[in-house]
């Protein structure tokens, strides 16, 4: 046996690390936050009040016996925690941050949906960070990931924490593929974290990473990613 046979990487992990590299090269810092979250950081602070139909947009796992605790439905909770800390420490924008982490949705699984998935959350706030910057950054990211021959387009959508909100599609190998949601951070979200929403503005995005992995490596199904099967580590 060779003593120093290197272990094999998980493809999703490769995608995650590449994503981090691309964004940190652009000046983003990395942030992290809990997977088991409270309602404030997962919903309320993100402009999704209790008893609002917008909460139905995400099938949520609630925790038994722990009132108001959820498995985070997105990494957007990290936005809130990051901005709250910033304000608490007396700092102000500009800043740019990404967070990659596991999220959970209480829905049936199939070849393209899992109950657990990775999201990459980006947040950039300044005095004049614009929607054109959002398009520029996302486009830069996917070109680095998948090659120059990709194209990005926006479609109107709705998320309570961004305004305008968009879904974006990527043209890759001749097909348009739905990649994720993004938008300009809703001024209320900034205010909820103690940031002046009339002075500062910025962008946020949160596409899933499994989709990116699947199209990059041409995988038929995302489920084997979580089976602990080393045949998956072939990249």
């Amino acid at each position: 046996m060779e003593e120093n046979q290197k272990g094999k990487e998980h493809p999703l992990s490769i995608v995650i690390n590449d994503a981090v590299k691309i964004f940190t090269d652009l000046g983003f810092e990395v942030a992290s936050g809990p997977e088991l979250e409270d309602e404030w950081h997962n919903f309320d602070a993100l402009n999704m009040p209790k008893d609002h139909p917008a909460r139905d947009m995400q099938d949520t796992f609630w925790i038994k016996g722990q009132n108001g605790k959820v498995l985070r439905t997105h990494t957007s909770n990290v936005q809130i925690r990051y901005m709250e800390n910033l304000t608490r420490s007396g700092k102000k924008p500009p800043f740019a941050v990404i967070s990659i982490g596991k999220c959970f949705r209480n829905e049936a699984t199939d070849a393209t949906h899992e109950m657990q998935f990775y999201q990459i959350e980006g947040l950039m706030i300044g005095e004049d960070i614009s929607m054109a910057n959002l398009k520029g950054i996302l486009s830069h990211f996917y070109k680095k990931m998948l090659g120059e021959d990709t194209n990005l387009r926006f479609r109107p959508s709705f998320f309570p924490f961004t305004e305008p909100s968009i879904e974006f599609d990527l043209k890759y190998k001749g097909n348009w593929i739905e990649m994720g949601g993004a938008g300009m951070v809703h001024p209320k979200v900034l205010e909820n974290c103690g940031i002046d929403g009339s002075k500062y503005q910025g962008l946020a995005f949160g596409p899933g990473l499994e989709r990116l992995m699947v199209i990059k490596y041409i995988m038929p199904d995302i489920r084997p990613a979580y089976h602990g099967d080393l045949r998956f580590n072939q990249i």
Binding site: E29, V30, P53, K64, K216, I218, N233
Partner: protein
């Protein structure tokens, strides 16, 4: 929501663009058209109306207004019949402020009956069943204008008085579909002077049901508090098209237009004598005014739109506006509850002008400029995970990710779509299963032994924690991430560097990844899904004269192994011996066979092995 193309067409004099074109433009300017179905001579769109537009677009009228703005087509002016109504005895009393407006109208001597074919057909195309002309009219107007309507049989009421009040404990109502609901004082109901008639905004009761003998009716066009309607609906487990509209909030201002529309339609379908409308509207909604400047719009969008372009959007959306000191003062239509400030108007501008007008611009100055210098770029948790990962990979462990959901643990989720309701409280259990699985597959893996690791969150009664677990078939170790880094680090650098120092040193490199982990940016060898059928292994050992290259054997195995031989033959044993005075070498290879589409049989592999053996013998080698 299901929307009929022909129904939309009724809103316009001009011919609408083809359904495909409508679907495409609506998707890029308003909301996603998820499906399109051709039904007879109509096309039905399934449009995904998200909560921000559920105030004004859960209706054909709402979608027609979008189409009007997108294609710059004018909506026909709709005139309702004017009646000289008769005096009424109807009395309405609102006892609770969960009812925001209540309009009622008595219509006497109607002719109840079947609906005409055009109406049955229209309802049918959007999946609604026809009941009778009165109920159908109410349904039609709801899907047309977005406001729920209810009709009661006046003669079944205790008197001509309608009371909107909270339910009482012990009180019950049987709904139109014969479901008994226990009421309490959080549930708003519509009642006569004795009994509940309907659960406000949710479902009618059977007491005052309109049936084939009904002659006199009360039409209800009302508005209820969205939050309490939603809560009640969840509590009693009844969701209806009415709930969907009320819980998303619709403006009480809509009642008037809708009362006119439904009166008109009932008169046309069932005749009758119209009485005066009774309208209780305790607190009139104020029209919202929003100020917005061209500069604000362009700054948020990163665009350079002219005043004329922006003005064209207000016109297309039919927003009243005037200019005031370089700003637009926009009168927001009552139905557009979603527009609360200038940020919302920015979205209106860009979606109408088109998101394709947004350029791609990487920010030049800003967050990554000088102002960031005093901030740490390093995230300690992320960096530690990365370090632990690289350490384990270097030590020969392969990385796995397993499910967070398991069938036992300390933290449980409610109402899971899966049967695994617990969150893992360790990584070792998943690791153990992975090792077992991979151990069985070892001939497929190009590995001498199975060594795996996972870095991930575990959940205990005390909260969550990031763990590192690694091991092989003999032993699994699991440890907190911080401890792992501390231990491994100090043993490596003999305690000279603290973790803090290590992290500071780390920050001089790009956060994240070493060059070698980013190989995927350049290399994109496609992934190959494995066969789900079992594999068969066969070992073959052959004596060859000393000095014979083993490649010679490999060549034979590969060409006679057929496409069922899925791995490179693996040499697992070789030794040299003197036999009958000649030096000979034995090479033992393991061959792995598997098919993509079936379970292989021993017989077919036997045939392959016989072919291989014959070839080997024909070259004068000896099979052991």
């Amino acid at each position: 929501m299901l929307i009929s193309y022909n129904w939309l067409q009724n809103y316009f004099e001009e011919k609408l663009p083809e359904p495909e074109k409508v679907a495409e433009e609506v998707t890029f300017h308003s909301f996603e058209v998820e499906e399109m179905d051709k039904v007879e001579n109509d096309t039905i769109f399934d449009i995904k109306i998200l909560p921000d537009r559920a105030h004004d677009c859960l209706s054909h009228w709402g979608v027609a207004k979008e189409i009007s703005a997108i294609f710059d087509l004018e909506i026909k002016n709709k005139e309702y019949k004017t009646f000289t109504p008769k005096p009424t005895e109807l009395k309405i009393e609102i006892q609770d402020n969960k009812c925001l407006r209540y309009m009622g109208r008595i219509v006497k001597n109607i002719k109840i009956g079947e609906s005409p074919d055009w109406l049955k057909n229209k309802l049918n195309t959007i999946g609604q069943k026809s009941i009778n002309n009165i109920i159908d009219a109410a349904n039609f107007v709801m899907f047309d204008l977005g406001q729920p309507i209810h009709c009661f049989d006046l003669d079944k009421l205790e008197s001509s008085k309608i009371i909107i009040r909270n339910g009482k404990i012990g009180e019950k109502i049987t709904t139109l579909d014969k479901k008994e609901v226990n009421l309490d004082n959080s549930i708003l109901i519509i009642a006569d002077e004795r009994d509940p008639l309907a659960i406000a905004g949710i479902k009618g009761g059977d007491k005052a049901e309109v049936d084939s003998n009904t002659k006199n009716i009360v039409i209800e066009v009302a508005n209820f508090n969205p939050t309490t309607t939603r809560k009640t609906s969840k509590k009693i487990g009844i969701s209806t098209d009415a709930v969907k509209r009320y819980e998303n909030e619709i403006t009480p201002e809509l009642c008037e237009k809708v009362m006119n529309a439904i009166t008109d339609m009932i008169y046309a379908l069932a005749g009758g004598e119209m009485e005066e409308i009774v309208d209780i509207y305790p607190q009139k909604t104020e029209q919202r005014i929003v100020l917005i400047s061209i500069n604000y719009i362009n700054k948020r969008l990163g665009s350079n739109f002219s005043k004329e372009e922006i003005e064209s959007v207000w016109k297309k959306l039919n927003f009243g506006y005037k200019e005031k000191d370089k700003e637009f003062e926009i009168k927001i239509p009552f139905l557009r509850i979603d527009i609360t400030g200038p940020h919302d108007l920015v979205e209106e501008v860009i979606r109408i002008l088109g998101y394709n007008r947004i350029e791609e611009k990487l920010p030049k100055d800003g967050p990554w400029g000088n102002s960031l210098k005093d901030r740490p770029l390093i995230n300690e948790i992320f960096y530690k995970m990365l370090w632990a990962r690289n350490k384990l990979l270097t030590d020969g462990y392969s990385e796995i990710m397993t499910y967070v959901f398991r069938d036992k643990g300390e933290v449980e989720v409610l109402a899971s779509a899966s049967d695994k309701k617990f969150l893992r409280n360790n990584l070792s259990d998943g690791l153990k299963e992975s090792i077992k699985l991979n151990q069985l597959n070892i001939p497929l893996l190009d590995m001498d032994e199975i060594k795996v690791f996972e870095i991930g969150t575990i959940f205990t009664k005390n909260g969550e924690e990031i763990h590192v677990a690694y091991g092989d078939k003999k032993e699994i170790k699991e440890i907190n991430l911080d401890k792992f880094v501390n231990e491994k680090l100090s043993s490596e650098v003999h305690g000279y560097f603290s973790v803090e120092k290590f992290l500071v040193l780390g920050s001089t490199a790009s956060q994240g990844t070493s060059e070698e982990t980013s190989h995927s940016l350049t290399n994109s060898r496609p992934f190959k899904m494995w066969s789900l059928y079992p594999f068969i292994t066969r070992d073959i050992a052959v004596w060859v004269p000393e000095g014979t290259a083993p490649e010679k054997l490999i060549e034979i195995y590969k060409s006679f192994g057929t496409e069922l031989l899925i791995k490179e033959p693996k040499l697992f044993d070789s030794f040299t011996k003197i036999i009958d005075g000649k030096e000979k070498t034995s090479f033992a290879y393991r061959l792995v066979f598997q098919a993509d589409d079936r379970t292989l049989t021993d017989e077919e592999i036997n045939v392959i092995m016989t072919n291989i053996t014959n070839k080997v013998l024909s070259l004068g080698f000896e099979v052991r």
